[in-house]
Amino acid sequence: MSDRPITEEDLHAYVDDALDAVRRGEVEAYLARHPDAAARVSAFAEQRQALRSALAPFAEEPVPPELDLARIIAARRRPSRSLWRSAAAAVLLFALGAAGGWFMHQPAEPAGGIAALAQEAAANYAVYAPDYMHPVELKAADSGELLRWVSERLHRPVTAPDLSPSGYRFMGGRLVATAHGPAALFLYDDDHGTRLAMLIRPMAVEGKTPMSEHAQGPLSGFAWADRGLGYSLVADASPQILHPLADEARRQIESKAAG
């Protein structure tokens, strides 16, 4: 028998059957000597049982077909329509941009370069963020190589903001194609599996713009340009969650460029 005094926590853990056998024995011996504590414990145990039986009917209602897991799994294997629509829009922009470049000999960036950037970020999010097998080509462990690679292809130094203080780990990234040439795609995730994507590419027109918000179906995104590079942070999360992350990313990128 240990000499540890029996605490309030022990009494609750006894009710929840969360004690090891030794401690349970000690609590039982204590309850035998303290009828007031024993009465409280039995009231808690009775309450626990009452709660379980009061709520049981909610778990017994027939499960509606929308909650058929096999169906949800099958549907997720095919990217959702709204995500595809964003991807299709980006392909269309690509076609328009290419046609514009060919016929009019103009820089292949349609009006609203930031909006095009946001579209491309959403299209890439739709492809890579739900990927089970290879969401990133180079993992965070190889971030040195990843940054050298994308900096080389974008012809300027590219850095990946550190969002870990906000709870998002850097997963890694890859080089992706956009209507406006190569772009860097970085992915981040948190403990609950929410993924963020950041797309970075050179901007033909906008050198610097304020932060702007873009919604693409279920996705929200924030995009801006600075020193000739465009940045777009996208996620299947609310703008309230994403906005401070985008501000933080911008702050880091600007302080790094200035320093």
Partner: protein, 190 residues
Amino acid sequence: MAASSAAASEASGRTTEDMMTLVDPLIPALRRYARTLLRDRANADDLVQDCLERVVTYWHQRRSAATARAWVFTILHNLAMSRLRQGARRGFSVPLEDVDEGALARPPDQEHGLRRQDVLRALDRLPDEQRSVLLLVSVEDLSYAETAAALDIPIGTVMSRLARAREKLLRDMEGNAAGAAPRPTLRRVK
């Protein structure tokens, strides 16, 4: 290439099997927790659907340290909290919508029904953060550590909220019983 796509489809077959084994049996409990937090059936089921979609999308990122049960409840709880915050901004609040008794295999008897209403009303009066702890521990069978992780709070906070929730529920239900009908109840002795 052929070999790698065969490996990929084998991996995805295994993933599907794992999810069906570990997640499918949780759905009734997920509906119960969502219903108790959001109160209305349509919203609760919509939330559970949202949760299942995330579970399927992010299944492979699950940390092996956490049990599937704890991980799925964490996702559900976070989604529920963000909906409740949105709801609070819009300023709506509804009473807990009860089950459609016709849909149940066995309807509750009258005595049990009255007692059940007492419990649900008392539960409804708990502060949100106490209700979550009490439900995850007492009804959904998460361990104290899993509950702490799901709610992103220290384990000491889980214990103190659990104790406060149980005391308050006890007081409320004693009050109900005393006001409604004389019924033998356990008196708490200080």
